[in-house]
Point group: C3
Chain length 477, copies 3
């Protein structure tokens, strides 16, 4: 066959070995139609609350997708020319068709990247195009997508159904009012779209929003959030509010996974430095470390699953950050260390039956050295899937090859898409399912597991582990 015509070959991502390919296909067919569980991500809840049509291909597929515009930027295309909004509101390109043409002319830059696979899937599977994007068909594709978006079939709630999404968790700040989730109450997707509690704004004293966020937190909870006890009470209060809007999990985007186990008076003293703004970077890090332990303690109380996403150097490109703000493709991974960092928290709470902490990393050297050994011992620890830059065929393969021998399969929690790009969700889950089936097929054909075990695992990795891994542990237990 001519690969240039159909980029979505039914055997894509499977090994070239004929026997392995055949078994991968069989395993994949056994799970390809299972519902999507998306327990961690960053889609906008207003889409589902308001169910307005998406307007435009460029606005939907390019402008919000930092995977896409970071690659274009790396090749000298300015963010202004891509219509990325500026901090000061100064002009950027508003001709969406022109931006689309830039994307189409540079689509070859994405060859070999997951963005290319996701986009091809969106064009062909979701918008029903016969071929992928090129400079030649840029207008046709653009117009076609825009026509589709104007129809009811492409409204957000309908897409949830089309995509067979059983659960979609968004992520909101601890001081979000959750009005969009409130609007979902009583609708048929009340239990489909849930929130996740992300308190970074109120636990990171180095955030410029820290003090104003504490003030907002006080207002929302009627607690004295400038006293240590009132602050903790307020967090408990908000966690309850989030649970009422479906949350089963919390999420923590700290620079490192450092934890601490300080005495109450040490905590009070440290907190008082934080609220005065009189602290060294080391003291701020110690405060965040202590807060991970405090939040683990609250998870034991209320059963919320704790996710730790450490190790990103945020806004590395200062001029770009000043001009365009956060989340513009300039977050770069740094070395991470989990063993010494997690020790205080794990020695305090690591053996608790109803604590569950899901660890993620951007530093793949952690997989065999730290994460698999930790998860293969501590009852509270589970490993999240390959994350962000590693949410890719190669990244997922390295993950399975690295963690399975020490942590097994049952200390992992299936796939997370972790995306802002709603339309890419089916494509991302499809990649994960294919790679898992490829890995399982190889294990069977190397006689390292039985076929029966592989079929069972295919379903567990696709559905059961994701579903059960993010259940509130009190309800589970």
């Amino acid at each position: 066959m001519d690969n240039s015509i159909s980029p979505l070959h039914p055997d894509r991502l499977f090994s070239t070995d004929p026997a392995a390919r055949q078994l991968s296909q069989a395993l994949y067919h056994s799970i390809a139609k299972l519902p999507i569980i998306s327990p961690h991500g960053h889609t906008d809840p207003s889409w589902f609350a308001d169910n307005q049509a998406f307007k435009n291909a460029t606005e939907l597929l390019i402008i919000p997708d930092h995977y896409v515009f970071r690659m274009l930027y790396s090749q000298g295309i300015s963010l202004r020319d891509l219509g990325i909004p500026t901090v000061d509101g100064s002009a950027t390109e508003t001709d969406y068709r022109k931006i689309w043409h830039v994307f189409a002319q540079n689509y070859h830059l994405f060859i070999g990247t997951p963005s290319r696979m996701w986009m091809d899937y969106v064009f062909i599977e979701i918008f029903g195009l016969k071929e992928t994007l090129s400079a030649a068909n840029a207008d046709f594709v653009y117009d076609h997508i825009n026509q589709c978006l104007a129809t009811d079939a492409f409204k957000p709630r309908k897409l949830l159904e089309t995509f067979n999404i059983e659960l979609l968790a968004t992520t909101e700040s601890a001081i979000d009012d959750l009005k969009h989730h409130a609007k979902l109450k009583g609708t048929c997707i009340e239990n489909t779209v849930i929130t996740t509690f992300r308190p970074d704004d109120v636990t990171n004293p180095e955030s410029p929003k820290f003090i104003s966020s504490l003030e907002k937190l006080a207002e929302m909870t009627k607690e004295d959030t400038f006293s240590w006890q009132g602050y903790l009470n307020a967090l408990r209060n908000r966690r309850e509010f989030f649970r009422e809007h479906g949350a089963t999990a919390t999420d923590h985007g700290h620079a490192t996974p450092k934890t601490a186990d300080l005495s109450k008076s040490e905590c009070e003293n440290l907190f008082s430095l934080m609220i005065k703004g009189q602290f060294t970077p080391e003291q701020a890090e110690l405060f965040r470390a202590q807060m991970l332990t405090e939040l683990a303690g609250m998870s034991i109380e209320d059963g919320m699953v704790m996710q730790i996403h450490p190790g990103s150097y945020r806004n590395h490109n200062e001029p770009l950050f000043k001009a365009f703000g956060a989340d513009k493709g300039a977050d770069i991974p740094v070395q991470a260390e989990f063993v010494k960092n997690l020790q205080p928290m794990l020695s305090k709470y690591g053996n608790e039956a109803n604590l569950r902490v899901i660890l993620f990393t951007l530093d793949e050297s952690n997989y065999t050295r730290e994460l698999a050994p930790l998860a293969g011992h501590y009852p509270c620890l589970k490993l999240g899937p390959a994350w962000w830059f590693h949410d890719s065929p190669e990244g997922m393969l390295r993950y399975r090859h690295s963690v399975t021998e020490t942590a097994g399969f049952y200390n992992t929690v299936g796939f997370n898409d972790d995306t802002r790009a709603f339309l890419s969700i089916p494509a991302r889950h499809d990649v994960a399912r294919r790679i898992d089936c490829r890995f399982l097929a190889q294990m069977v054909l190397e006689h390292r597991m039985s076929e029966a075990d592989a079929y069972k695992l295919a379903k567990d990795l696709t559905y059961n582990l994701a579903k059960n891994g993010y259940k509130n542990t009190l309800q589970t237990a």
Copy 2:
């Protein structure tokens, strides 16, 4: 064929590519029956001295195997329920059949792990079972194993013969009286079961046993072990005693591979702080560092091969350590650094003709970056095989793919099983032999070495390098 019936397929662990599989098989058949050289491990010498029958499947296969119970523990099964003895002697499960059932019911947790492969081998190859363990056959398997263990064919010395073990080194503390090895003198296995000199108790001032161990060392050697010179003399004395009991090697389980090259007066001053117990963690680390260099110097004198096993954070789980003691699956790898750490010792002794230092790591990022470049230059350095969590099919493949291009094959020392689990020894060596043959077959079929070279290397990696790599270097030279 139905893989679920025979987990021990003759082609297991070979590549799925038919040509590669065929050549892997041929290479494997050329070395599969070679005797086992096990130059580093932790079996109990009393087994071979006393030759008493093992009593029970649970006592033999579960309770001493931290690979097994750490995985069960990670899934919420308590160590008490697994019969692990407590530090304070408080009650744990003593119904071994019940423990066996827990293991059988959770045997699926081990899918994809080396423990599963080793256990399957033990069940099928060693105990002659037709199928592997399941909840359904748990009683049958348990009873069958126990019946076998009661027969002469399963007594320790007979198993040494059955397993075709030509050499088995155990590891003893510098202050061990080696009474079990003494008992072997004059028996037919006098040269089969040898000891290894492990002085960590008397070189690590942070060990709670440090002072009492020095006292014991003084008693054993009639040296003043609380003076620097007497202490060094005592170590030389014990090394000689160990050599009389077969030892050809020493072993050092330091937290890091840091070495130092201090003057005599600096050593004396540092040692005096150690014996007073008045030291910072940095001073203790410096003392251990200096001791690695001192011990390398002694190796040059007496020809003992030096092994360094660094980089494990021991007893990470404090409550578990307090309740159950050391070696309970809570030793977690940390980042290791060899280049700066080994430099003082290597600049002093690295070019000596009759020094041999075998390096191990738990941090695979060391392989291409540090260990292969070091071993591909320094005459004294050799690389030990993939260790502990990496003693696995994937770990071994990564090791060969990572180190061979820079260190070649002849700066490695074959396989070590490093195990406490006597019955797993044939299984572990079988995995190593299969993976090496798989790697060699791939090299041949990618035309990176000749078939003749591959057959020669298969034998060298399996037998000659292990045998020669651990010979006393004075006897070798």
Copy 3:
């Protein structure tokens, strides 16, 4: 076929999968005859200026090749016995035939290493031998090579033509007079052999040659190189001189990629400490860091492409360094960190349109964690190929599998041979071309790119990216 006879099989280095092998071959044939672009290396320009015949196999192939003698040294063969010159001029082996025999007898040590592949290529493809080296044919091979070398066909300029080298960059110190390159002016290889500006001697205050180099620099440029401004002027002056001799790039071999962005007065103060020799190691590191930023600024002015080669612990073996000097196989990689280290320079200059910085690493853990994410964002950054110990089949495969998904192909710059071993150049480029075609074939057959894209990429990776990646950016723009 019998692999022992022809070590240069036409399918070497391709996957064993028949379909993958066939497509790899087809891709390879489409680019195998493309001219060699060698934009970074260390060949001796006097060879091309003087065009004298090479004299002897040992002198050409063993004595200058640290890959070769480091492996022999690691197995206990002394550098004296290999004819390596000593610092003090004391005697070393001068019987080149005897040295050749030692090499031949130990040629098995290189099985599985890239040196072996390169040497086999030299023997068979370049010298037309029918078989590779062995103890048995050592004299025959030695005599044959020496006879070849005496003919016109093996003179340096003729070999440039035979090897189809379109461009070869050498690397010279900032205070080199470039007399050999001057001699090439007006010859037919004036545009073939160019220089590269490497200012380490005048930017590294810890070099023993720092002060004398500054004096030489003053002499050459008539600038006051002991004032900050005069020093910078002198560097600009030399960059211009190098450009007049063909240079399009600079090269920086710092211990780390640390950069800084100090004020002018801080620079002046720091520089005055450097020239007084009154500095701490941290201040020297800060000076080198600032100089990387200064040199990036100069690259923006004059369009020279900047290469950073960090992370080697030079001359690790002190006694060997004292006896034999630098570049004797004792340079060992250490951990590298790019994200925090490059941040000051990147925030200052990283968004400049006509800056190009090519990053190299010896620490493969940087690939997915740091380098691909950085290069996939910053317009100025490109990734150099797998370097030094990783310039090998496995190293190149790991590189492509690691960086492509995040950086794409178009943020890389093709292959560099980086070699002193002139005769190995065709062999090294051949390995890179084969491995790239293997990788591309796999991508096609896993339906991750089209065949048409793979053919285009094969040419881009082999020729266009190397040629364009090293063009002066002012001429490009």
